[in-house]
Amino acid sequence: MKKTNVICPFCGCLCDDLTVNIEDNKITGVDNGCALASSKFLNTERLEKPLIKRGGKLVETSYDEAIESSVEILSNAKRPLLFGWSGTQGEAQCKGVHICELLGGVIDNTSSVCHGPSILAIQEVGHPGCTLGQVKNRADLIIYWGCNPVDAHPRHMSRYTTYADGFFLDNAFRERKMIVVDVRKTESANVADEFVRIKPGGDYAVISALRAMIRGKSKSIPDSVAGVSKSQLERVVKMCKEAKFGAIFFGLGMTMSPNKYKNVRNAIELVDEMSRHTKFTITPMRGHWNVYGSNEVFTWMTGYPYGIDFSRGIAFYNPGETTAVDMLSRKECDALLVVASDPGAHFPKKCLEHMADIPVIQIDPHLNCTSHFADIQIPVAITGVETDGTAYRMDGIPLRTKKVIETERPTDTEVLEKMYKKILEAKGKCTHCW
């Protein structure tokens, strides 16, 4: 059996044109998807059964007991941290927020270690963006800055930019220009019309130089800025000004390199500057398929996109203080709930040391590095494969991912809903008024 127009739950592209082949409720192949998509659909490294640590060993348990024990840990914690959320459905993220409010805990998503700085920049200067279809249909200049779509978002260029024919570009590959800005020559740089190689940490200076040149202040620019020659910068400015529609995409090479959010702020202001000459937009290359969704959900429920602390009874937000890495490295939290993400693989050593010391509960379909820290593991259905649910593409387009095969495992939402009800009971709150 084939299921068509399936939405890929891997990266922020959320390609919605996959065909999944199924035999006897097993996925046997994926057409149209990239290698990352196939690995997601065909992944077999699953958490199989609910497990709980007893006497230093993980032993099998029931879902009810795993949930009960999790509730006990979370309800008794003084400063619980609820982290992750980017790999699950919007419905589960909503439940997560309600649990956090009830616990007076801190809820954070993975953007605090990826595009958190972009959000800080947006909070200072805004965000002139657009949907990916605007780029596909109109953009004659694409700039990838500090990102490498060929490896990280393999279909980005064929669906939305360089190779995607659009309404105003019949032959995209010939009619579009592409600039890649990076500290090293990536696979993406190999296909660019212009590769701008910046010395590590030089993004801010290069963006500032471009802004100055667009404003007609070329004379003040030295012959070389962060390893980029003035003549190349002049060429880039000319390309930008000649474009009818320029689209910048940026990745962690911009958000997580020195100057962090100031780089992004500067890039947004570059777009603002260019918008006085032609049409320009800027879009962050979001990683997890629903990381943008976690920002959206947290925002409409709490007012803030990540790092939200409910210990004061109201939503308090201060990235750097209320974000997961900071809380863990300060050894501040005394219980950690990880949902649909893998801090065990990505967080600094100091954080992992603290994770080893405190109770960690993991809700995830997959076995990953965090599993080795978990005192309780709750295996769930994979959203977008075994259950449907809402997700937001990197440009803010909401989609409903599809269920392609059946599973007996509960969804994240179901597990969290049960936890919520039980925490209400544990806290002695009325169960019908929340």
């Binding site: 200067v125 965000h127 949907t131 109109r138 409409w300 007012g303 409910f310 109201i314 809402t390």
Partner: protein, 566 residues
């Protein structure tokens, strides 16, 4: 079966011609009935002002733009924070509050139905997701068609039936309610960083004018028998001298429906500007209301500006960029492929600022100079002119010349030379306020027949009891009592249940989404049209299969099916 009796209510119900009668309102199973048994729950209104639940026919409360307004404004969240209490989750925010804050605050003010003013079809799922948390008001979403490529192509072909087929299918697919047209043609031009100006310039490539887009969409709207009329945000918003464009647009509006207006023009304050630049900026509310008074086929909302901080948000992308260049604070923009654009910027309307003071006066002038209150809705285009929590102050300004005079003393002293407000002595009465805040809004939206905006037998039992004794006060002098009274109901009753009491919620709420499904024959089903399917596949980034909003997003839904004859 739940029964409720609201006793001793001082009722104003304009749609049923009730003006200040002391009466009992009987409610059973969520509807108004003739009488209920003695066993019914009783709320004693103690002779206080009792109105049908408030209806807001133009507000921005849920969806991509609104949420981006929150996302970019942590500073806004620090105002208006509230802790959890039974039936109320914690809230944050002032001009773009969290969803729960919006629904609690509207309920506190007696509002039970709110229309989200602008939903991009491609992003509709987001609006519906947020709607499900907006638990205390029934919600509806106007759907944007201003820069819709398929519509513009059908207009260029002169094919009205096709325009109707596209609009009809899209509304049903995205679970939308009405046709919203924001800066027609201008939002497509913004795709190239341009704007269009007034209604006779041609849209690049598509070769159609805003006037043509508007003409076709108005007629398609009627062809589909939609409950609401076309809902227009006119071209040239916020530009000095734009009143001419507004008048020309009004002049063109046909009269095609005997039950309601044919054209609803929104936030007309922003479109009633005289002068040629900011230096000679002045009010032209007199010309606009003169035209409105001669065009019963048009209804407007005020778009009242109130002083203080707020966040502007609209599908009018080019306008927001212009505004950003004036304010230099921050600017967000989010164009949507094949459909529309948008922009968001925070603003601070200052009493010291002459332009802002004139804007404040123009909104009030429009309401006071429009003879028929059924043609003018009270709204701030929340949060563009001001957050909706300012409605009680707007009501007081309309009811009291004394209050207006006092306020005029606090604004920029040059204002009086550029506006008409000081010369207007009209004071609206409570019946007119009830019309402008519920009855006319329900009528304009075409939802009276499904039980909104009135308290007649069979209506939805949405009722607001305000702590105002009309017989004991003179609104002209006691305007503070009007402000306080309208700020917080004693009881807000939604679908027969008291949902909030003195500002505290009594239930979690269970709202309904009202949407429209025009019945279109198989042969006119545009989603089966090979050309439309091909275009969809080639130019959208989402497949036709994944585009429609699934029923899962509509928890309690009221679908209005319309006969179309196509």
């Amino acid at each position: 079966m739940h029964s409720l009796l609201v006793k001793n209510a001082y009722v104003i119900d304009p749609l049923n011609n009730i003006r200040g009668e002391i009466m009992d309102i009987a409610i059973k199973d969520g509807k108004i009935v003739e009488s209920v048994k003695d066993s019914a729950e009783v709320i004693d209104a103690k002779g206080q002002l009792t109105l049908p639940g408030g209806v807001d026919s133009h507000s921005h409360i849920c969806g991509t733009k609104v949420n981006f307004g929150r996302y970019m404004s942590p500073e806004d969240m620090r105002a208006g924070r509230g802790r959890a209490q039974p039936y109320m989750y914690p809230v944050s925010g002032y001009s773009v509050p969290t969803v729960y804050a919006n629904t609690y605050r509207y309920s506190k003010m007696g509002y039970t139905t709110v229309l989200e003013g602008a939903m991009a079809p491609l992003e509709a799922r987001h609006t519906h997701e947020e709607f499900s948390y907006n638990t205390l008001q029934d919600t509806l979403a106007n759907t944007l068609f201003d820069g819709n490529w398929s519509v513009m192509e059908a207009v260029a072909e002169g094919d009205l039936k096709k325009v109707a087929a596209i609009v009809g299918w899209t509304l049903a697919a995205v679970k939308g309610f009405g046709v919203k047209i924001t800066n027609p043609g201008g939002t497509e031009m913004w795709g190239w960083g341009k704007d269009i100006g007034c209604i006779h310039k041609k849209v690049d490539y598509f070769g159609v004018t805003p006037a043509e887009i508007l003409d076709y969409l108005i007629r398609a709207n009627e062809m589909l028998n939609l409950p609401h009329s076309a809902h227009l945000h006119t071209n040239n918003l916020g530009k000095p001298g734009n009143y001419k464009c507004t008048l020309e647009t009004m002049q063109r509006a046909p009269d095609l429906n005997d039950k309601r207006q044919t054209l609803y023009m929104t936030h007309v304050q922003f479109h009633s500007y005289g002068g040629s630049k900011w230096a000679d900026f002045c009010s032209k509310a007199d010309d606009v209301s003169w035209m409105l008074n001669r065009k019963p086929n048009i209804a407007i909302d005020m778009g009242q500006v109130m002083f203080g901080k707020t966040t502007t948000m609209t599908a009018d992308g080019p306008m927001e960029f212009n505004l950003y260049r004036l304010h230099h604070n921050k600017w967000s923009n989010h164009d949507v492929e094949l459909e529309t654009a948008s922009g968001i910027i925070p603003v601070h309307y200052s009493r010291k600022n002459l332009v802002n003071s004139i804007m404040w006066a123009i909104g009030l002038e429009l309401a006071l100079m429009t003879k028929n209150p059924w043609q003018c809705m009270l709204a701030t285009d929340n949060p563009n002119g001001a957050p909706f929590v300012k409605y009680p102050e707007v009501i007081a300004l309309l009811m009291s010349q004394k209050y207006r005079e006092e306020q005029l003393k606090t604004v920029n002293p040059d204002t009086e030379k550029r506006v008409f407000l000081p010369s207007l002595d009209r004071e609206l009465d409570i019946n007119e306020i009830a019309i402008m805040t519920r009855a006319a809004q329900a009528k304009a939206l075409g939802i009276v027949d499904i039980g909104k905006g009135h308290l007649g037998v069979g209506a939805d039992a949405d009722v607001a009891v305000y702590p105002i004794k009309m017989d004991d006060i003179d609104p002209s002098k006691d305007y503070q009592k009007i402000i306080d009274g309208f700020s917080q109901t004693d009881y807000t009753i939604k679908r027969g249940r008291a949902v909030s009491k003195k500002g505290d919620c009594l239930v979690l709420g269970d709202n309904a989404t009202i949407w429209v499904k025009p019945k279109i024959s198989e042969k006119n089903d545009i989603s089966k049209d090979p050309e439309f399917m091909k275009k969809f596949e080639r130019y959208y980034t989402v497949s036709l299969d994944n585009y429609p909003v699934q029923e899962e997003y509509l928890h309690r839904n009221i679908c209005i099916e319309t006969e179309t004859g196509i």
